[in-house]
């Protein structure tokens, strides 16, 4: 199946947050009590009950106020750090469309995935199981668009064939974020400013420690273990053990000989 993706054009977003509401409704996510922090941004970040969220980036420029909006969600990475670190096969997985979904029945509550994710996305619900945007697997498998896309009134959020959406954006002269990083994100963005302004890494990558852990130490460790086993065996059959009857006598000159038979 050709890879699908979200194309998210933040220049079109009016921060109505229909996407937040539609997602909560479709996924039956519980309401949460929040506090007024003097911003329309609410809640302040993704939660176990909020799979996508509009961030309000407010910048004072002289007397002017610039407002940038950012739809935060799982990026559905081609090379997904969350899947890389997950010990339980199938708890997090790529769907045939190339999106990253989860299966709570397989989740073992180890909470590794939030540390494997370059974007700090996974959250854990009251059962301690993983939750995040799953690209509405249940809808897209049946030919429907995701609930947030359906609800978006401005076409900020679109979902479809990944190559076609990227080609269309480029034809319109836009720069897209996430085309090739991490084997291509499943949520590609059109931004109005540098990624850092949107609290996005300029060059998203698997965190260095996670790469060392899973791609260097893990394979070398298995090699090292069998290497040590092999070395011990090899020593035993070549130089052999230090047998006492051979060595004991050599030191006897200045010591009492061991008693016989005792």
């Amino acid at each position: 199946m050709a890879r699908k993706a979200f194309l998210i054009d933040m220049s079109r977003c009016i921060a109505c947050r229909s996407c937040q509401v539609a997602c909560k409704q479709w996924n039956k996510l519980e309401p949460e009590a929040t506090v007024n922090r003097g911003s329309y941004e609410n809640p302040p970040q993704l939660t176990p009950q909020l799979y996508n969220q509009i961030q309000f980036i407010e910048q004072g420029q002289g007397d002017e106020l610039r407002w940038l909006f950012m739809n935060q969600r799982c990026m559905h990475c081609g090379d997904a750090g969350c899947i890389k670190v997950c010990p339980s096969a199938g708890a997090l997985y790529h769907t045939p469309e190339g999106m990253v979904a989860f299966n709570q029945d397989k989740c073992i509550e180890c909470h590794y995935c939030v540390n494997g994710c370059p974007f700090d996305v996974p959250r854990y619900d009251r059962k301690k199981k993983v939750t995040k945007c799953h690209a509405c697997v249940d809808r897209i498998a049946n030919g429907l668009v995701p609930a947030c896309v359906k609800a978006c009134p401005t076409q900020t959020l679109r979902f479809g064939d990944r190559d076609a959406l990227i080609a269309e954006a480029k034809a319109a002269g836009k720069t897209v974020y996430g085309e090739s990083e991490l084997k291509g994100l499943g949520a590609v963005y059109i931004l109005e400013d540098a990624p850092q302004t949107y609290n996005l890494p300029a060059k998203p990558a698997i965190p260095a420690s996670i790469f060392l852990w899973k791609d260097v130490i893990k394979p070398l460790g298995i090699l090292g273990f069998w290497g040590a086993m092999g070395a011990a065996l090899l020593h035993y059959v070549t130089f052999g053990p230090k047998k006492l009857d051979e060595y004991g006598r050599r030191h006897d000159d200045d010591l009492n000989p061991p008693e016989k038979g005792a």
Partner: protein, 207 residues
């Protein structure tokens, strides 16, 4: 036990032996539950612990037992572990005599140079596993950078421990017959003591 009539020399007292076997049991629980998280090939090991969630719980509490017993054992030998002399240099030069079929005359104290180095590694490894273990106990409790780094270090010292332990077990059983009795019964034969730790032997014989 040290009187000159006996065939044996006492090597480890009962406290040392209990600490050692406690840490061994905890260590193997840690290895098998840890492997379930380490690579998906070993995920099935969790079945022996009543499932992954319970396996992780076993790991955490075995970690506390391992940390405590291993640290106490190392601390009770701290002075010996960090005392080196010219004979240790000789031991290193001759690689403990392990790469020769002939007997090499390398006088050693209670612990030979290799045992001391393994003891120091074990102490450092215990501290690293314990500290990183606490940090990843709840992987969302500390900062992401610190947690990621700790996961990496925990895995690194796990692999070092596995390699070290293979060598340790080989050298205390097959590689050096007669050694294991020190941890099982607390004593070794005088022949063993003379062959492996002659400086220590002379010291205990003098009383």
């Amino acid at each position: 036990m040290n009187n000159s009539m006996s065939r044996y020399v006492e090597r480890f007292n009962v406290v040392e032996r209990v600490l050692h076997w406690t840490l061994v049991v905890a260590f193997f629980i840690l290895v098998f539950t840890g492997l379930g998280l380490y690579a998906r090939t070993f995920f099935g090991y969790f079945d022996f612990f009543g499932g992954p969630q319970q396996g992780i719980l076993f790991h955490k509490w075995a970690g506390v037992v391992f940390f405590t017993s291993s640290l106490l054992l190392a601390l009770s030998h701290l002075k010996e572990l960090f005392t080196f002399d010219q004979d240790d240099v000789l031991w290193l030069k001759k690689l403990g005599g392990y790469l020769s079929k002939e007997h090499e005359d390398i006088p050693q104290g209670k612990f030979n140079c290799g045992q001391k180095l393994f003891g120091i590694f074990s102490l450092v490894g215990t501290l690293v596993m314990g500290i990183t273990g606490i940090i990843i106990w709840d992987p969302a409790a500390f900062g992401r950078g610190l947690t990621q780094f700790s996961l990496m270090l925990h895995a690194l010292f796990f692999t070092l421990f596995m390699m070290g332990v293979v060598v340790h077990i080989y050298l205390t059983t097959l590689g050096n017959p007669g050694t294991i009795s020190s941890m099982l019964y607390g004593h070794v034969t005088k022949t063993w003591a003379k062959a492996h730790a002659v400086k220590w032997y002379r010291k205990v014989q003098k009383g």
